[in-house]
């Protein structure tokens, strides 16, 4: 067998399950907290969640978000309240998908899908404006020609979660409840890492207080 011993590794690998996939025809499921391309969510009544507060822009370490607010018109409001995001842009040439913007957002307006398969042939395409970021009337991400969506990446996009621990306390677990979202309604609260479902509020008591 001396001649075959050199093929030991090869032969063992032949009988192991295959790890490669027919990407891009097939994709592996991604973890639920995957940080991908963002969406701007809307409430169930279609109003935009973003209030143009610029907290995401303020916190972004890559300084890739540009937001400007404006007064809501009383007869045709874009968002509940006085102010809405009039300009919203993310430059994906700079975004590091850290999710600090998602954490900073007081209204769950900006969240991430699980899509990372997007590349650009033109720089302008990398700057996503409200036209690209805002979800469509079904509450789904608007798919751009250069993005490879296979399904699933835009499910449950409003999976808001902390990227950092509260007050530096890593053991801290809060219970997150959700506001209703266009296309998805009110989501089940996410379990804390400790996973005590009994301690969680029922979805219909939702709403961040």
């Amino acid at each position: 067998m001396g001649r075959l011993s050199g093929f030991r590794v090869t032969i063992t690998q032949v009988f192991r399950p295959r790890v490669t996939e027919k990407f891009p025809q097939e994709k592996r499921p991604k973890p639920p907290r995957f940080h991908g391309r963002h969406v701007l969510n809307r409430y169930e009544d279609g109003m935009e969640k973003c209030i143009g507060c610029e907290l995401c822009a303020g916190v972004c370490p890559a300084q890739c978000i540009y937001v400007r607010g404006a007064d809501n018109l009383t007869d045709a409001p874009v968002s509940p309240g006085e102010r809405y995001g009039f300009v919203y842009e993310i430059n994906y040439l700079r975004c590091i998908h850290c999710d600090l913007c998602v954490e900073a957002c007081p209204t769950e307006a900006i969240t991430e899908t699980k899509l990372f398969e997007f590349s650009f042939a033109r720089r302008q395409d990398a700057i996503y404006t409200k036209d690209e970021l805002l979800v469509d009337d079904e509450g789904r991400a608007r798919r751009q020609p250069w993005e490879l969506w296979l399904g699933g990446e835009d499910d449950e996009t409003s999976a808001w979660m902390r990227a950092t621990s509260s007050s530096g306390n890593a053991a801290y677990e809060n219970r997150v409840a959700w506001s209703g979202e266009l296309g998805f309604g009110v989501r089940e609260p996410e379990r804390g890492q400790g996973g005590d479902p009994g301690a969680l509020p029922a979805p219909d008591q939702g709403g961040v207080s």
Binding site: I51, L55, G81, R83
Partner: protein, 896 residues
Amino acid sequence: MTTNAVPMSQWPSEHRYTIPVAPGPETVTVTIDGRAAQIPRGELLIKAAQDHGTYIPRFCWHERLKPVGMCRMCLVEIEGMRGLQISCATPVADGMVVHTTSDAVTTAQDGILEFLLINHPLDCPVCDRGGECPLQDQTLAFGPGESRFVEEKRHFEKPVPISDLVMLDRERCIQCGRCTRFADEVAGDPLIDFGGRGGSTEVITYLDEPFHSSFSGNTVQICPVGALTARPYRFRARPWDLASTETSCGACAVACRGSLESTSNRLVRLLGVDSEPVNQGWLCDKGRYGLDWVHSDARLRQPMVRRAGELVESSWPDALDAAAAAIRNTLDTHGPNGIAVLGGSRGVNEDAYLWARLAKGVLGTDHVDAQLGDGLPADVVLGMPRATIPDLDRAKAIVLLAPDLKEELPVLYLRVRRAAHDLGVPLVDVAVRDHGLTPYATAVLRHAPGDPGAAAGVVADALVGRPGRTKVGKAIVDATDGRDGPVVVILGRTSVAEHPDAIVHAASRLTGLPQVRFLSALANPNVHGALDLGLTPGFLPGRVSLDAGRDHFTKAWGAVPDAVGRDAAGILRAAATGEIAALVLVGCDPLAECPDRNLARAALEQADTVIAVSAFMDTAAFGATVVLPPTVWGEQSATTTNLEGRVVRLGRRVTPDGSTLESWRIPAELAARLGSDFDLETVDEVQDEIARVAPAFAGVDASLLRRARDGVVLPLADHADEVTFGRAGAGPGPSWEPILPVPEVVGDDDRSPSTSASDSPSAAVPAPTPPVPLHRWDAPPDAPSVPPLDAYALRLVAGHALYGADAIVAATPALASLTHEPTLGLNARDRDRLGVHDGDRVRITTARGSVDLAVRTDAQTPPGTAWIVANAAGPGAPDLIDLTSPVTELRVETIS
């Protein structure tokens, strides 16, 4: 431990809610958190602690307002006193031992904040104050971190407009009373107050009367929460987007200090900086919100040259060549006397100086005037003994020979009002009609338009203790008896419908008073800089007359004009007759600014060549041969001179769009094309040349201007001890507290201004004596002859409104909506005599022209006179006035 401090509740009632004792020279020893400090007796504890490095949280107390003790946030423990005391209303006393961080104090602070947050909405993400909010910051620093309040908060309709510029969100209001106290105490417009009680207390305006105050923006700046928001700024940026530069306001001659803030290369906010001698933190609404004009689409971004009868965009070299060629052409055909330069009073010092140097040193013409017949003779302004604004506070009396300061120089109005109302300085009001300061006057003298001489005579006599037989004379004598200090005369054009000789003559009757000083009330932003730097006939830069400065300037420049030239009226007349063929208009539009529009029109129509240096396509630029657009306020760093003669720096915050040229480079480039290279590369070099060449500016070089916190008053030799360096207190503060002026760090050597030894606040400034004696105003003119009153005619009084038709207002949407149509203001008696009603249109005819205006009953206008705003858009006062006649008589006919 005993102290002699008395809590406010036990002060005598007349002292309650006023600062009890003015801090004196004596000091007392107070121990704050274990550190002993020497503090002037009578200082409020909160201020004393702040000055010595202990910040006591507060909401209602503001350094420039009287304490009220409304919010209880500033509680401290004072040994020997029962309970906690509010430090904002407790004057220090000798031996006081104060604790600001003891358990009792922190518990109280927690409690106060929890109470405040019971009804305060958690609106921070949509609130304009979010990120720079005292309530946010102090809750984080001193608060409990959690609320036990789970009930419903109070609700009001979200922002309601309380004026055209200010919105009020009553849910956010914490009832500190800063806004109401400002409006009442400082602005003298008590148009907002508290209504309701308990939980439903709210700031209200009176019965359908909006908060129409020219100072309303200050309430937005000092509100410690986001309850008051400014419409022009609302939601345009968040605090972390802003970059700021300290500058001076460029909208009038007060030159208030401000912090100019921009985001994405757009100016969005001007906040008042607390410059003790000038604006003490306040701004008027025109200055504060007059920003959008800088970015207006109407701005010219390219030079234009007239080719085949049409103005076409061109490049700078071509446009400058065309302008230089036109000037050279005129020099060839008409000589230097064929060219005149008008304007410059809205620019900066550097361009004023270089235009003067170009006109007088290169072209050789003395037909130069920065004022368009709407000002005072330069002889008077440059030669009168000058007062500073702080002189008002210590004056024996203030005499007003000026237009309505509330409309023309708003923050000067605040300072005069403070002197008269809060500091008890007698105010003598000599005017034709009532105005903003009349309610505060000790003595009111009214005279017929064009004839203030007699009234001034009464004042002059009374101020030396001769009451005469009049009541006002006695009132003045009584009020000034036993007071000493300078007599400050505020001198301006009471009406542009009368010849300036009248007011100059009146002023000359006051020159004999002991310690008399004059404060000029000319309103154009840099009119004083333009006059000081020689943009006026008969003078050279630095307040010296043509004759006195001839040798000095011949050495510096090579040449100066031979004879005194014409003033604006003379220039326009000569242009109308063709004697002057080329007019250079430096940032001015004679058709809008000259009180005699017919004359201006004739001049512009006749002139062969008009070179307009203008940021906008105004009516004069329409007919121009070449239009050169300069860079404007906020886009270039420069200096300006305010009405005291204080030279202050203007900061650059944004980069201009398009292709404009820094304003001072335009005359320099033209000079180079006409064969004189000024050899100036930077604005600092221009400032240094001014300091070297212009006698009144001796010593005022770029480096001194950078370091001087509140600017430098000219001439430096007389005011060197007033120059302050270094930072006061802790440096730039947050916007809701008085923001202190900060000098710039000098050039490349990175010295911090506060640590440099030579710049310690007491360092002596070298003050060279001017090389040429400065001009003095003597030779009081003879009384001008005024025609007797005509019982059938009305005499016109014309003054400027704050929101007039200038570029700042017209090209700023927030302000443009505040302008009014011009009307004819009549006393009710004259209205009835003429048989007209409010709103009727009438035809007004004078010797000069006629216009149709609507009638408005105006109680401020006395019988026999008529009031028309001189700077409104459209036909109006300028069509009626003849620059040469002593007064303007008008007749009114009804039209159907």
